[in-house]
Symmetry: D2
Subunit: 337 residues, 4 copies
């Protein structure tokens, strides 16, 4: 951290900064310029201390963090890419992973029909919502436990890994029994109680980016999971901006930023960002070209009659066609699905 | 809802829209323009149905909602301002309410000292965090149950209402016993599991605005609480924007927008928006002048040594001076603290 | 436009809305629901009238636009994709166009060396800044007229189309003589005086998206150019959001949104969005995969000593390697560079 | 500036950073931590050099600016508040200034009637648009030169300072003759050609904040004007965010931030931010309470028939009532209108 003192700060004020830094066992170096003093506070653990601790002292003009405020998710901490095993499917390696399925599990038939199709087209993990977070209390809230049972059954009959969203720590036991990958949704990215519980569960976690989270804050949330012993796959799904022709603004820059600063695998959810099935293929292709390790896409046998997210779900032919394009783009980058 | 058909949409496509609207028992009127057909879907309950239900049909160009997508929080539903009773203190009436206290409860002495000061200066509800949501897993996470006990003790010895943040439904029983007002934090505004639990608890709720939530979404979250039987006070605390000289951008327009569209009381938290104690008085005064029903402000006996949010906490003299200014501004508007 | 009346609006108020609509020769249909009246105002030219005209009338609850507020740029107005001829190079057809060159023209040698390299690697239009808009008045402001002369010379000796940014209408005559394509920068997207002048110049325009412009506002700006007789290529270059690990957030969704709503070609500038050369290849590949009609990329023979935008400029080997990847991705989509 | 080297950066790479800093005659201090080297680059003029200059060098992990990137607008450069004289009315002193008038000059009668009313109610400068920047090319674009003549006439007959927006440098001569204060609009805040011309004109400038500009960038734009010899009044008018119930999000924090970092006076435009006259009084009161030096407000004798911005214009009675509230709030802060 770099502490810039006010022009004219007293020696006593400078010493107070130095003393506080030393109380954390950090290294300290004073840089005396012509018109102001700058204190460099050095050490591998400065990422664990808030800048406030120094900013609040008298005579301090500003405090700037140099070390990133996350540690376990950082590439400096762990230089090789992490691989995450999801029920036998490896995420983060040369092979990309398509996770596909319905927004919400609606019935055994709907789930099986969708799963069978997406698996035949190249998907390797099946998604399906059991508990659904809905903006309105009057919307369909998912089948709940029944949906979870249907996922567990599919996982057993098709021998395929499945994933679903966990909304609250009390659902953890049931979820751990039923699925291979726990999704933490965008609205829960900073639900720290949930993060800790998921981290301790032994199941890998798909951590969706919060609507208003910077990449840095998202990696800090990953630190919560990693600190509790968890394994993490990052999932870009769009951020909230002023643009209103899409539901969210997919920030594909985050893929390269994460690859540069972190060892964690990163996948992309084009469905929730776009909000409309006509935009999904363009964004899905872009995500693969950007270097993502995989995708999570909503598919429904009959989108016009889906009980949720109907507008952004692909039908079977669109999904099949898309998989072919995605595989060809992956091959340009020396990868494949 | 207004459904705009594509230029050249077929009669069959138009009829499919009409049929779907009728299946919800909505009124339907066709507007045939020179170059396209517009279907008006009318009825008091259209706010409960997603626009997707129509947007996904073939031949539909766009669907626009006219009714706001919340109902119980709407002024159309309940025209007079709601008053919320917090342990005997009424929020939403002519008298404004100051809620003040430390960010986190650190000790009995720190809590009592702060409470005694802010009450003497005109505050009427005491705040103090027991469980703290922290961006980093390495930061001080609050005293937990011990903090809650100290709040309950203060409430009993000082006969003053107290409030604290609930982070997860499992904390509900302990919180209900200890506090008069449950705070739902910005990061949990769309934690629907938590909202339902709080709504059913019988305690009023201070609902902070999510960092990325529009006023409309925030009122939809209030609908979750109201639908479960709860009472709600809205709390503006700043939204996430590109501006980086403050932690968040306090959106004081939301005060007048909520007053216009809703019957719920609205207060303002200038401390978290500003992120720096030097900016708090300016924003606090502005909030009262904008017409807020109260404020929630962080105060600490020794901000330089606070364990959290030290930079944005006011010390006692600053708080005392601010209360005098706020009361004088309230009087200009025919109100008082 | 759809005008929603207040619950309990009087017949007189409804008639005032109808009369005002009729004064514009619009069609009007009344939809009388059980609890409120909705007035549909129909006609091809409603896009030219502001919603305020109705919103300001007494008894009006809200006004919603259905027709998009642009006309000439709309696909409804012109259903086939427009092709724009830039000095013999067609933008918007099956073949993608790479525009490359230095951020700023620094010398004849630097310009020629860069142009020769990028052309050999597959670029077909050369870019180079003569007048530079700089955030700080103390930064290098470009060579001005001398830079323009160097571009004109290159265009003549290499027989290649060139493009540069116009910052003010007074530069128009000099620019028209020197370049084949006029760039209007993000900060000038709503400089309407400049748009009209460029539209009337007879030269095609590369219209960069404003930092805070929705796709709709950007297409309205295109309407200014088209209404003055101009030809337009849209250029996505990132929007301002809260994310701070990149300079701007590249909104690649806009490519598909424009293709859906407009007939204009759209290209992408990954350099200004990323702000760092290490992120440029990932975003460039994503843009092509998303379906863009081309790219504009900054290249410099010695980025470490560039006088502006050094950090985001590619060196020659990186650019050459990127072109090969981009061409392979284009071929997946049945296109090529 | 603080240059953080990569872990394992070579001595040669560190020396390259030092040499480059020394080539600008900056002071340099090396801070050698246990795992990385941090180079502090010190000197009063570092604000004039881009961080890129160092970030582009090999072995550099990050570059952080400590000095703010503006100089002339900074309070460090000029510690006492600047007063700006607008035709005899001082902005920035203890007395607040109300600037009021119609959005656009529509006729002599409309301008005189409005001016006479607002002056009688306490305004001291009259505003009126002659050239209007409009999002759509089909909207009313202002009376142009005729509007300017009417303003000049009013200024002479009423002996009152007037202000209007300049959209392009070619309008400068006409504007300088007609008005006392040149407004630079939000969409032109980074039109550097215009800024330089206005700075050299000898007239003070009202610099509106750009829709996507941070406070820092806004103060950099002020530096353009100050560097050309101009005098500047800052004007907050709302930024672009995701919130859609208001046209823009008024960022009242910027008032206190500017007061802290700059010596320039700052006023607030609640009309353009709100977009609706019902929200204007709440925001105007908040602006005065926040500590603004004045306001600029749109007033019209008959808003329902205004040719532009009808929805956000106050009628006479609303304006008169507002002025009384504002004056009372100003008095709480020891000021007055």
């Amino acid at each position: 951290m770099i502490v810039e003192m006010d022009r004219g700060a007293s020696e006593e004020q400078i010493q107070a900064v130095v003393s506080r830094a030393e109380s954390y066992h950090f290294g300290v170096q004073l840089n005396r310029g012509t018109d102001k003093v700058v204190v460099a506070i050095l050490g591998g653990d400065t990422s664990r201390v808030s800048t406030e601790v120094f900013a609040v002292l008298p005579g301090v003009a500003s405090v700037t963090r140099i070390m990133r405020p996350y540690k376990l998710a950082s590439r400096e901490f762990h230089s090789r890419p992490s691989l995450v095993d999801v029920g036998g499917v490896v995420v983060g390696g040369e092979r990309l992973v398509m996770i596909a399925g319905p927004c919400a599990v609606e019935s055994r038939e709907q789930l099986e029909q969708t799963a069978d199709y997406v698996l035949s087209a190249g998907a390797r993990i099946v998604r399906g919502g059991a508990y659904k977070p809905r903006t309105s209390p009057f919307s369909f809230q998912g089948l709940g436990d029944e949906g979870l049972d249907l996922l567990a059954e599919l996982r057993s009959t098709r021998r395929v890994p499945v994933t679903s969203e966990i909304m609250d720590a009390y659902q953890l036991d049931a979820m751990v029994d039923a699925v291979d990958l726990l999704q933490v949704g965008a609205r829960n990215m900073q639900n720290f109680t949930l993060l800790r519980a998921v981290g301790q569960s032994g199941k890998p976690c798909l951590l969706k980016r919060g609507l208003a989270a910077t990449v840095t804050e998202w990696l800090q949330a990953a630190d919560y999971l990693l600190a509790s012993g968890g394994q993490v796959i990052m999932c870009e799904r769009g951020i909230r901006t002023f643009e209103d022709s899409t539901r969210f603004t997919l920030d594909l820059s985050s893929v390269a930023v994460i690859k540069q600063n972190s060892h964690l695998p990163v996948i992309v959810d084009p469905s929730h960002a776009a909000g409309h099935h006509r935009l999904v293929p363009s964004l899905a292709r872009a995500a693969v070209a950007a270097g993502a390790d995989g995708l999570i896409v909503e598919v429904h046998p009959d989108p016009q009659n889906a009980l949720s997210d109907s507008l952004q779900s692909l039908d079977f032919p669109s999904f099949g066609h898309l998989m072919q394009e995605l595989d060809a783009i992956a091959k340009v980058l020396g990868r494949s699905f």
